[in-house]
Amino acid sequence: MIRFENVTKTYKGSTVALRDITVDIDKGEFVFLVGASGSGKTTFIRLLLREELPDTGQILEAGRNIVELPKWRVPYLRRNIGCVFQDFRLLPNKSVFENVAFALEVIGRPRHVVANQVPQVLDLVGLANKRDNLPGELSGGEQQRVAVARAFVNRPLILLADEPTGNLDPQTSQGIMQLLDRINRTGTTVVVATHDEVLVDKMRRRVIELSNGRMVRDQARGVYGFDGSGQGQEAV
């Protein structure tokens, strides 16, 4: 589903964000991307969204090389990728319903489809009763749920999350991760960039660790820090 081949990305000539990264992520996998701030996690995500282009290397999503994608196709690429951010990125003047509906309107879905699908996904995230509230009236956790709902409403192939629990308390964070897990079970490939150790350790999924732009670990059922027990370094 996602393949990075020898990808290098440098910012402004001196800061090397990613060095020669090669990695494969299959359909339906749940992957944690861990590492300190500045290790390249966000760059990884931005490259997947084609908000940046790599200096060298190829990036394939669903078999298509997105580096060669013409500009006009990029919006269509992004409709197949849902993304959730640390700062939620909701439209402040639209209600919960409208925020989620927006993702459908953008692709031209007619009103009745919108009226059908949005309540479904709001149910999934547990916010059916808050459909008419504005983001400002919601807690952080609830806002993030709205963001997840919006990311998922189009049933994308890939769901990305860049520090989704960064602004949330531990308990709420758990809830969000459970939500992402449920979404993963429907077959969506999920990649979560995070430095929340507790969550990573709890879920025991594939862990890819970045350090200074290099991939230093790729472990199936890994934990946040190196586990030291000799449990294989290669992905299964």
């Binding site: 969204l49 084609r50 908000e51 500009k71 006009w72 990029v74 919006p75 269509y76 690429l77 992004r78 409709r79 993304c83 990125r89 909701l90 439209l91 003047n93 927006f102 993702a103 309107e105 953008v106 692709i107 031209g108 007619p110 009103r111 919006r150």
Partner: protein, 295 residues
């Protein structure tokens, strides 16, 4: 991919309302700038009319001697009728008619001293173009029985110059105003869009195409341009009323009389104003949002 009309209408209405301060700023900017543009265009049209009126109104007069005989008078009349640079027919005023006109124009004590027999007869001619007046003078001065040929030469020249200058100056002003109006409006729209850049970035994240993002902004700009230019059109209409009022119904004509404009001319000017307003609004918005649309 077509953007649904329903979506555009809803988004435009709610965006204009939500950002109403910016909307009002944009509308007023358009209204003020385009009022000036419209007024300049109107004055230009008025100047063009004044030139036309002046050309039509200028007359050359061939005065015959009071004791000229009938033969000489009819000879001059025949020759005038054969000229192609004089509008036909020339009007012949006999002694009685000139006497009546003299009574009207001269102060009474001077008039007492004159008699009808002493009145000259005259031919009133309108040259086709202002420049032909000189030719009439040249042709008939010295002809048998002709007393003199008069034309208001110096006055023609002065008015012509003033009106020509005024026509071009108004056009230049109108162009400069259109450009500065465009810049002002563009700036106001750019500020408004900058305040909403977060919104635009979310739209891009979710996979909106550039047109999908652009169209609501352009339609907002169009509406702001439309409302502003309609306000400007009202102002232009009042300028038109003012000019026609100042110039009409007077015994002595002033520059405004000459500039009299018809209803269809002011309508045309207003149509231009409204079209310019809508174009600046929508195109200005499209330009202002460009830098935010880069992938």
């Amino acid at each position: 991919m077509a953007v649904s009309v329903d979506y555009v209408v809803r988004e435009t209405a709610s965006n204009l309302w939500r950002n109403r301060l910016m909307t009002v700023a944009a509308v007023l900017t358009v209204a003020v700038s385009l009022s000036l543009v419209g007024a300049a265009l109107l004055l230009r049209q008025g100047s063009a009319n004044a030139t036309g009126t002046l050309e039509r109104g200028t007359q050359v007069t061939v005065w015959m001697e009071p004791n000229a005989n009938a033969q000489e008078i009819s000879a001059v009349g025949t020759e005038l009728s054969q000229l192609n640079y004089v509008r036909q027919p020339c009007v012949y005023w006999n002694k009685a008619r000139n006497f009546a006109e003299a009574r009207r124009l001269l102060p009474s004590d001077v008039f007492q001293a004159t008699t009808e027999a002493e009145m000259p007869t005259s031919y009133w001619c309108t040259p086709v173009a202002l420049t032909d007046a000189a030719q009439v003078v040249h042709t008939f001065t010295g002809t048998a029985g002709v007393l003199s040929v008069t034309e208001p030469q110096q006055t023609i020249h002065n008015e012509e110059t003033v009106i020509n200058v005024s026509k071009w100056v108004c056009l230049a002003i109108a162009i400069v105003l259109i450009i500065s109006a465009a810049v002002l409006i563009l700036n106001t729209i750019r500020m408004a869009i900058f305040a909403r850049r977060r919104e635009v970035s979310v739209m891009k994240l979710v996979g909106a195409t550039n047109w999908f993002i652009r169209i609501p902004f352009m339609s907002e700009g169009l509406l702001q341009g439309l409302i502003g230019s309609l306000l400007a059109a009202v102002v232009v209409y009042f300028v038109y009323l003012f000019i026609n009022h100042e110039g009409g119904g007077r015994t002595t004509s002033n520059i405004f009389t000459a500039m009299h404009m018809s209803g269809s001319e002011v309508l045309l000017t207003n149509v231009v104003v409204v079209i310019v307003g809508m174009a600046i609004g929508s195109i200005g918005s499209a330009i202002a949002i460009r830098r935010f649309l880069d992938v």
